[in-house]
């Protein structure tokens, strides 16, 4: 669907946006069960409220608003406060389907901007699938230290991610 075009069937809206919505949500929750639940919530909430035909840009902007409020509710409800309202990407701004690499590209860029030891612990955990104990052994530290390293690395990654968007 190109800019300036109009959506007249909900099926087309769903088919053209479900993957983008899922990926936006996955990037903020990091796991399949939550990503599936929240993606369902977004479409079940937003599609019945649309009056069609409607410009594709408006439909996407609306879906994007629903994605953001759904994610904010999720984080507030389960972890006590919403994530900073950073936009990783928006359905509204996407006029072509996302490629399979874009989500991991951003995560990869964040990783590359971290100091060595922070990057190392996260690479071992996320890319090699090491447990804390295995990562500790590899880095020659105690498991307790590896947990602290991981915690600090994630705090730094959050700051780096926020800076990349500002």
């Amino acid at each position: 669907m190109l800019e300036g075009e109009v959506y007249s069937e909900w099926e087309t809206i769903y088919q053209e946006n479900v993957v983008s919505v899922y990926r936006l949500i996955f990037a903020r929750v990091g796991n399949r069960p939550d990503a599936e639940d929240l993606t369902s919530e977004v479409f079940l909430k937003s599609l019945p409220k649309l009056t069609l035909p409607a410009p594709a840009s408006q439909v996407r902007a609306y879906i994007n608003t629903v994605v953001r409020s759904t994610l904010a509710d999720h984080w507030r409800k389960h972890y006590g406060s919403p994530l900073a309202d950073v936009e990783v990407d928006t359905v509204g701004g996407v006029t072509r389907p996302l490629s399979a690499l874009e989500g991991s590209d951003r995560a990869g860029r964040i990783l590359n901007l971290l100091p060595d030891r922070s990057r190392r612990i996260l690479e071992l955990r996320y890319l090699r699938g090491y447990s804390i104990r295995e990562a500790a052994q590899e880095m020659d530290v105690t498991p307790g230290n590896a947990k602290v390293l991981q915690y600090r690395a994630l705090r730094l990654a959050a700051a780096v991610g926020a800076r990349m968007l500002s």
């Binding site: 069937e9 909900w10 099926e11 769903y14 088919q15 479900v18 993957v19 983008s20 899922y22 990926r23 996955f26 990037a27 903020r28 929750v29 990091g30 796991n31 399949r32 069960p33 939550d34 990503a35 599936e36 993606t39 369902s40 479409f43 079940l44 599609l47 019945p48 984080w75 389960h78 972890y79 006590g80 406060s81 994530l83 900073a84 990783v88 072509r96 389907p97 996302l98 490629s99 399979a100 989500g103 991991s104 951003r106 995560a107 964040i110 990783l111 996320y126 890319l127 699938g129 804390i132 947990k147 602290v148 991981q150 915690y151 994630l154 705090r155 990654a157 959050a158 700051a159 991610g161």
Partner: protein, 221 residues
Amino acid sequence: MRNPVDLVARFVDDLLRGRRPRRFIAAPEDVEALGAASELASLRPGADLPDADFVDNLGRQLASKMAPPKTAERRVVSRRALLQSAGLAAAAGVAGAVIERTIVSQPQTAQSTLIPTSGTWRMVAAVADLPNGQALRFTSGSIEGVLVNDGGTIRALSAVCTHQGCVLRLDPAARRLRCPCHPTDFALNGSVIMSHLPTAPPTLPKLQVRIREGQVEVFVV
């Protein structure tokens, strides 16, 4: 209460095992660390792509929510009444429009998967030949099918009409499979989106599909 270092470590463990993390109330600065932990889960190739079955199931759930069965039934009845009272020729144009709307708004039928008893995995296309958003017809042995790249998820469908077995024609511009025998169109997820038949034919069966070394393979005979 456990300290934030342990709670964040448990959160990451849950993510890496692909399960829903256990919930806890975190300090605002720790919520940001949890956000980063979630985002990094996309590092694993393909982790952030939805499962094809999930996409299909949600589509069906939406179909029943967007068009309750009662409405569809009422439209079918009104079409019959119209044909009986006004005569076929006079009603043909109006009826066509009514039928098309009726079928479009019917809930999707459950989609089966075609799994041949003595099937084998056969290469039918290169992934590179199937860019995002594109569809490709293929014939392999006794199977007529279509491959669809839906935002990075590749799926395969039978390309034989579920009404009377005519081979469907792919219309790439309209993103539809059209039946040459009786006016019926299927979406690229297999659901019927338009039909002039009194009863919509079943959804097209899926074919099992996998990617091996850059090649798309389907399970066929």
